[in-house]
Each structure stands twice: as structure tokens, then as C-alpha cells.
Symmetry: C2
Subunit: 554 residues, 2 copies
């Protein structure tokens, strides 16, 4: 019974997302059969339902559209290759435990990307609601194209499209309270709400058929081939595979992040666990299953998983039953879809994606921190103005660069001895003793390539300003790692200080770091020494019996 | 006098690097006049000499070669645009203080890149030594092309080329000890060593002229136009500028890193300072100066700067004198270069770049750490097999990914109370008290997008395994920042824990982090509380009078 409900609800979604991806509607059904079986076998979430989803369909349209293909058959072949590539990438990431790569997509970037994609998708569907032709991959292109063709509006299509959109919005917002007010149970009201799109499809199809509206210019779905998906291998065209590699990588990452976040949300509700690396394998298998059955890239979708969850799916087998249901539908129901107006499918999509649009992320990020705001703004702006792949890539690049920028300027303090103790503190905050011949610097971060040069600049700059200076001590108590760049920076600092007649010493170096340094020749060449404690360093370096330490007030 | 010596030495270098960049020899002279003046005005190093250098010339050849241009005039125009773009990029980076971007080029990546470039350059010059035609941009292409044409070897060219190469190697390694052995002063021996290439050029030119070897198939430089560089603006072809943008960016970064490292090395010898952001401005101005005078991208080179330094350059004016010297040479000496065999210029380049090749970086990186080794190996391998731009980009990408990977798994410890104290320590290392209803987790790193999901997985996984659990406390004493991704992960953790009937609390949150959280609605929705100290948290959460804390041995 749960499977039957889910099946009926998934059919319009599957058709609509195939059209969104620029593919014939049956491809959406094909992508909703074998992938479910593959996920049931390999997945770790009990409620997740995989299949076509809005954002991935948009990205498929962009990737396939970018190839400039001539025929629909070539577009299907390219979508199949995209699914195969995504499947292989996800599988490889799962087997190599590379799931962490998805972490590079920060929350603000994903939120911005989904919002911008929702806007792009809704704009792209307006043409079907208005019954005109329009194309474009960016918001300005779509708007300009809509404006150019606005005089060609088809009135019956607009009536159907607007009515369907209005109805679906009402179903989403107003139907449940209405039914509850009529005394219906909460569960039944939920199911009725989710069946709304099915009702819209049935009514509009009947209307078009009975009134002959297709002859009045209403675009209909037309013949959807009956029968199970054709099994076969993707075309092995190296040029095509190479062209689709980067889009497939981005689709894989976005799909994985979306799917895992849905799975974790649902799992937590029942105190269950999911295993992210195994999820990669399962999504990889699902996409490969989609590829061998003539489908396009799929992932775990929120809407379809919630249907599954609410329908009480308790075992992965529910997914297999749903697959059987959709297979039966493709064998029997497709002739009924002949008169289905495309405007209603467009309305289904618009209502679904406008639920994803949340521009408040910009305001929240602005209130929270500048780097987060810049990442969101870059993602939304570039997705709308340039395209989906450029948008995601820019968002990731901006987040990473801003993070590296922040850590590239570690906190560095000049320290001195708290009188009468063995403690060394920041000269700017404490009353401490220092010696003009000895400069002690504490770095509050591991040393790595992005901050190595900053340390070089800081130390050399500071040393060049002190003519009495004879010793620089690097207090390493907060340094958990030194990478090779930082090691070479230390070597450069040592050599350049030596050219100035100043020796470099290290103190309080942690065990693992000492071990690493010991495998190099750094310690052999070092002009100074390694001291176990800073106290020991100061004692040794100021013991030459010259001028005593000078007391300074920070 | 210093300027005269430097001038004579720079001429063969400038000619050779222009040929290496795939440009007519005079372009190398043009690129060595105005850029010197621009650097003298804006630069902060007293010894740095800017001009064409080997690696940047190779990258220019790759960038210009990739455009598929038909005529030498188009290649010059493209090189000029490349110099203009590099100049603008460097200037913008300097004015916006973006010098830190160069930090993304880690030491191992630069070392690997220079080594691989040296190999590519030497392979590319072999054709001139052998007197055959060969082309290709990757090591396999070059080798295959050399093998195909090896039967066309020109004997007189090989004799000249091999003799020149052998002579120059001997000059570099054996001449100075030999001269010192003859009783010459160290300074004079140095100058003689550096004049080696000039001698090779004079002797070989005379030999070709007197023996008529050009008629025997020895390729000669031919007519080098006499006269000062033609001043003018770069062509404003938007397509060309766009195509060269990425190569120009990479050339700018590599050039900047090379130049700053040379400048710092020389400055340290005299206890002087350079200002990296100002160096960006100076290099930008130098490249713009090169662009308006028909030159190609330039940077501060080690070889030419050392000549400058040894010749006693003490003020930026030395650069201006050198510029005048080279300008005089282009006015008067170019007819003397007519019979100069290209094989000798190739020998000059080979001897110079083989000094840069240092494959021991692979061994040293392997001994030091796996991430560093992978970055070097990727850089060398991809530079040799795919090309210079792909090589540098891969090296940078690998370094950043491995760094993010390392910080994406922060150290997380479960802590308990040291009996009788208010201290909380790792349960695995200390004998501490814990309560099965309360889980306290300490994260030893700031929370940001790359580790946010790891924390989510860790906490939810840990919580799902403890059925008695009622409270999770996040001890934030080591958390210096929480970015928006981490904030949303904390919200997700909170909601998912709430679905399990578990409350989330924070303790010991630092002031700046509290301020940031206070600007959001996080604290309003949080299922638990914020405690000033961990002790307070435990006191409040275990005070319900239920089962007492259980002593555990770590």
C-alpha cells in the first residue's frame, strides 16, 4: 500500500524532471526504477528514495545543453554518459573514502546554489506556463528570451498553467488545514496533500482530451513509449566522456551532499545511523543503474524521501516495491499521459522549486560574517549570471580562499618572562622581562604553506629593525605540525638571519614535530639550538654575562 | 663599470630567452630595457634585476603556442598582451594587498615545477643543438619528435652545440678553481666565469662567419633589427585577452614568487628589507613597461640579479644604467649578432636550466611527509606529461586539498572529570569520572566548513550508540572561530539530537564566538544551555538526583 501511494506520487515528478533536464519524459520514469533497486541493496538509510531531483536535472540540462547536440537521441546518450560518469566518480570516492571532498561545499554555498538554481528553474519553466518558446542558461538570457517571445502567448495554455500553479500552491499551503477543518484525520490529510499533483494531472489531461485543447495550441506530452527501460551500456565516445567529466564531478558532489543531508535528517528522527562513505557507494551504484537503463543522474531527493518516510517505509525493500510500481506504470499507464499538458508539469516544477528558494540566506550570512556572505553572494550571483557549474565552482573557490587567507595570518606574539617565574607571556599584555639581544616569538598555529611566508616576512622584518639582536627564539608550544614549505621557510629564515649575524633557535618543540625535523638535515644546519623549554633557552642565551635583561612594561 | 659588465652579460641571456619563448631575439632585448627602469622607480630591492627568465619564457611559449597563431607578428602581439595582463594582475594584487595568493604555491610545488620546467626546456633546446626540427609541449611529445627527426642531424651544428655546451659547463664548474690556481683574484675569476657565455658567443660567431658554416646548414640568428624598442599599446582584442587571462595569472604568481625569493635572499645578505606588496606593484609596472615597449613577461631573475649584486649594485640607479647599456647595445651591436649560431644560445639555456633541475626534491619530500610528496609528484608528473599550466595548477590543487583534508578531521576527545578537581581530561588518557547520561566532547580546532560535517557525523554516531544518553556538552575551550557552515552543523546536531530526546549544551565558549552566536537565532532554538565552565555544566546536568557519576578508568 505504501509503495502504491509513493508510486502514484512519483510519476508526475519523474516526468517533470526529465523535461526539466531537456530529455523525453519517459527517461524520468526509467531513472526511477533500477536506481531504487540499487540503492535498496547498497544504501544505509531506510527511508531515502533516489531518483531525478530538481537541481540535478537542471545541472544535467546545462551540461548536456553545453555540448551543442543536434538530436534528442544524442541528448539521451549524453545524459546516460553523465549518469555513468557520476556513478563511477561516486563509487570511486566511496571506495577510496574520499567523502570528505563534499565538505568543500560549505553550507552557505549549498544554500546559495539551491536558491539560485530554484530561481533559474522557475524562470526556465515560465515559457511552458505561457505557451511560448524561450531559451537561455542564465537569468538575463532567460528573461530576455521570454520578453522577446511574450507576444506569442497561448491563452488556453496560460489558463491551464496559471490554474495549475495556483491550485498546487493552495494544495501545499491551504489544503491540509482545510481538510483538518472538515474533520479528516491528520494522516489522510497529509496523503491528500501529496496527491495534489496527481489530481492536477488527471483533471488537466481530461480537460485537454475532452475539449480538444491540443488543437488550440496547448503543448502536450504526446506519445510516451510503453515498456520497460532499454538495457544497454553508455556510448564509449572518449571526447564526450572528457567533456562531461567536470559537470559529472560537480553533479556527484552536489547530489551526494543533498542526499546525505536528507538521509541524516530522516535517520535522526528514528535514532538510526547512516554511513556516509557507504552512501557514496550506494549513490554510485544507483547512478550506474540509471545509466544502464537509459536514465540520467539521480540522487536522494527530499520530497520523494519524505513521501516514503511518511508512508511508513521501514526497510530498504520499500524502495524495491516502489521500483516495481513504477515499472508497472511504464508498462500500462503511459498511454494515459498522451494529453497531459506540459504546462501542468511546469507548474509542478515551479511549485516544488520555489519551496527551495530562500534569499534570506544572504541576510543571515551578512549578519553572521563577511567571508560567509562573500561566498553566498558569489555563488548566487555567478549561478544566475553565468551558470550552474561556474556558480558552484566560484562558491567553493571563494570559501577555500577566504579560509586560507584567514589562516595565512596566524596570531604571532612577541613574548617575555613574567618576573620571578618560568612563564613567558605576550609583551603587549603583560609586564615581562626581555633582553634586547634575544627576540622570542610565539606562533599560535601550525606552520604550513599558506602561512610560511608570513612568518618569514614577520621574523626578517622584525629582525632587520633591531640592531642589537643576536638571537631569535621560535617558541613552538602551539605548533602541531610543520609542513615542507614551512620547513624550507625556517631554513630560509635561518640562513637570512645568519647573514645578519643572528642565530635562530627553537624551543618547546612537540614530539611528533621533532621526529619529523629529525628526518631532515635542518637540525644539522641550524645556526642555533633546540631548547626543551623557553626558560632554558633564555637562561642559555642571556648567560654570556653581558647586559642584564631589561624590564619592560607591556 | 658595474653596469657595463652586467650589460655585456645580459645580452646573450636576453636573446636566448626570447628564442625560448618562441619570439624573435630582439624581443628579449626590448624586455630588458624599460622594465629595468620601471623596477628602479617602484621596487624595494637594491640588487634585483628584472628581465626575461627561463621558466617564465617557457610559460610564455606554452601560452602563446596554445593559441595556434599563424605569423611571428601575431605571436609577438600575443606575448605583448600577456605582459600587459601580467602587469595589470600584479599591479591589482599589489594595490589590493593580495600578495598572500602567492602563498598558495607551496615550496614543494615550486621546486617541483622549476625542476620539471628545466627538464622541458632542456629537451626543447636539444633540437637546436642537433640542428633538427622538433616540436611539442610535453616531454613525451618532445622526445617522440626528436626521435622522428634524428636522422636529419646537421654535423657542423652538433659540433658547435656540443662544444659550446661542454665549454659552458666547464666554465660554470671548472673555470673558477682553474683561474684561482693560476693566481688570479677571486673577484676577477668570478667576472671571467660570468663572461663565459659572451666568449662562447664571440668565438662561435667568428667561426661561423669565417668558415661560412651558415651555408653548411648551421642555423644562425640572422638580422636583428637595430634601434630602440617600438613604443605602443598592446592590441585590444577581447578574445585574445580572455584566452590569455589564466596563463597570465599563473605567470604572474610564479614570477612573483621567484622574484620575491631572489630579492629576499639578496636583501638578507646586507640586512636590508623588501616589502612584498610593493614588489607586486614594481613587478606589475615592469611588465606594463615591457608591454608598451614590445617585450614579453619579465620578472626578477636569480642569475641576472646575482650579477648585479656581485658587480656591487648599491642603488636602484644601477638598474637604470644597465637599461641604458642594453639600449646602446640594441642601437649598435645587433649587426654583430648576424652569424651567431642558434646552437650556442641553446647551449646557454641548457647549461642555465640544468642548474635548476633538482630531482632530489622528490626524495626529500618522500622522506619528510606524504602530502608534500604527493604535491611534488603531481607537479612534476603533470608538468612533464601535460604541460606547465596544468602542472602548476595541479600542484596547488593537491596541496590545498591535502591541507583541507588534514584539518577536516580535527582531534576530538571525550572528556571526564578528574576526581576531586574541576579539571576535565580525555577519558582515554586519564582516570576520570563520567555519567552515562552526559557525554562531553572537546574539539581541538576551530569549527569551519571542512570539519563541520565530521563533527556532525561524530556526535550523531556517538549519540546513536548510547541509549541512556540525555545530554551532549560541547566543550569549546579550543574553538577560536565558528563559521556559518559549522553554525548550521551545530543547529543540525541540535535538531537531530532533539529527535533522539537528547539536549545539546555548550561550555567555555570564548567571548568573540559568543558575540557571533548572539547575532543569530541559534541560542534561542538551542535545546540545552550555554555554561560558562564545564564544571558548572556537569554540576547542573547531573544534579537531578538520579544515579551518581560512574568512575571509569581510561
Amino acid at each position: 500500500m505504501a509503495a502504491a501511494i509513493v508510486t502514484i506520487m512519483l510519476i508526475p515528478q519523474s516526468l517533470a524532471y526529465a523535461l526539466l533536464a531537456g530529455l523525453p519524459p519517459e527517461v524520468g520514469l526509467y531513472a526511477s526504477i533500477l536506481p531504487l533497486v540499487a540503492y535498496a541493496i547498497f544504501g544505509t538509510s531506510r527511508a531515502l528514495a533516489v531518483g531525478p531531483v530538481a537541481v540535478i536535472s537542471l545541472m544535467t540540462a546545462a551540461a548536456v545543453g553545453g555540448l551543442g547536440l543536434a538530436t534528442p537521441a544524442e541528448a539521451i546518450a549524453a545524459a546516460v554518459v553523465l549518469a555513468a560518469l557520476s556513478g563511477l566518480i561516486l563509487l570511486a570516492m566511496g571506495l577510496l573514502r574520499l567523502g570528505f571532498i563534499a565538505n568543500l561545499l560549505s553550507h552557505p554555498v549549498i544554500a546559495g546554489f539551491i536558491t539560485a538554481s530554484g530561481i533559474l528553474i522557475a524562470l526556465g519553466q515560465l515559457k511552458s506556463i505561457l505557451g511560448i518558446k524561450a531559451d537561455g542558461e542564465t537569468a538575463p538570457e532567460l528573461l530576455a528570451s521570454l520578453a522577446r517571445h511574450v507576444s506569442e502567448i497561448n491563452l488556453p495554455t496560460v489558463v491551464i498553467g496559471v490554474a495549475a500553479t495556483g491550485f498546487l500552491f493552495w494544495v501545499r499551503r491551504g489544503l491540509k488545514p482545510f481538510l483538518l477543518g472538515l474533520g479528516l484525520g491528520s494522516r489522510a490529510a497529509d496523503i491528500a496533500t501529496k496527491a495534489g499533483p496527481v489530481a492536477a494531472i488527471a483533471v488537466s489531461t481530461l480537460a485537454v482530451w475532452s475539449l480538444g485543447l491540443d488543437k488550440a495550441g496547448v503543448a502536450i506530452v504526446g506519445t510516451v513509449p510503453t515498456g520497460l527501460p532499454p538495457l544497454g551500456l553508455p556510448v564509449l565516445d572518449p571526447g564526450l566522456w572528457r567533456d562531461l567529466l567536470v559537470p559529472a564531478l560537480i553533479i556527484s558532489l552536489i547530489g551526494f551532499v543533498e542526499s546525505v543531508s536528507v538521509a541524516q535528517t530522516l535517520a535522526a528522527k528514528r535514532r538510526q545511523r547512516i554511513v556516509p562513505d557507504q552512501e557514496l557507494v550506494a549513490l554510485g551504484a544507483s547512478n550506474l543503474a540509471s545509466a544502464v537503463s537509459g536514465g540520467f543522474p539521480v540522487t536522494g531527493g527530499f520530497a520523494r524521501s519524505v513521501v516514503n518516510f511518511d508512508a511508513g517505509a521501514e526497510t530498504p525493500a520499500a524502495g524495491a516495491f516502489t521500483a516495481i510500481g513504477i515499472a508497472l506504470a511504464t508498462l500500462t499507464l503511459t498511454p494515459l499521459l498522451f494529453f497531459l499538458p506540459k504546462a501542468v508539469l511546469a507548474a509542478t516544477i515551479i511549485v516544488a522549486v520555489l519551496g527551495l528558494v530562500d534569499l534570506s540566506i544572504l541576510r543571515r550570512a551578512w549578519a553572521y560574517s563577511l567571508p560567509d556572505f562573500l561566498a553566498v553572494a558569489a555563488t548566487i550571483g555567478i549561478t544566475l549570471l553565468v551558470g550552474v557549474e561556474a556558480g558552484v565552482s566560484s562558491g567553493v573557490a571563494v570559501s577555500i580562499l577566504l579560509f586560507l587567507w584567514r589562516t595565512s595570518r596566524p596570531h604571532i606574539a612577541e613574548v617575555g618572562r613574567v618576573p620571578g617565574t618560568e612563564h613567558f607571556r605576550n609583551v603587549l599584555r603583560h609586564v615581562v622581562e626581555t633582553d634586547p639581544r634575544v627576540l622570542t616569538i610565539r606562533v599560535d598555529e601550525s606552520l604550513y604553506f599558506a602561512n610560511a611566508r608570513y612568518l618569514e616576512d614577520y621574523v626578517l622584518d622584525r629582525a632587520a629593525r633591531s640592531t642589537d639582536l643576536r638571537h631569535v627564539v621560535l617558541l613552538c608550544s602551539a605548533v602541531n605540525d610543520i609542513d615542507m614549505s614551512a620547513l624550507e621557510s625556517l631554513e630560509a629564515i635561518d640562513q637570512r638571519l645568519a647573514s645578519m649575524g643572528v642565530a635562530l633557535h627553537l624551543s618547546e618543540v612537540k614530539g611528533p614535530v621533532t621526529d619529523k625535523l629529525a628526518r631532515t638535515t635542518f637540525l644539522d644546519h641550524l645556526s642555533g639550538q633546540i631548547f626543551l623549554s623557553q626558560h632554558e633557552a633564555m637562561a642559555a642565551l642571556t648567560a654570556a654575562g653581558e647586559s642584564p635583561g631589561i624590564r619592560r612594561v607591556g
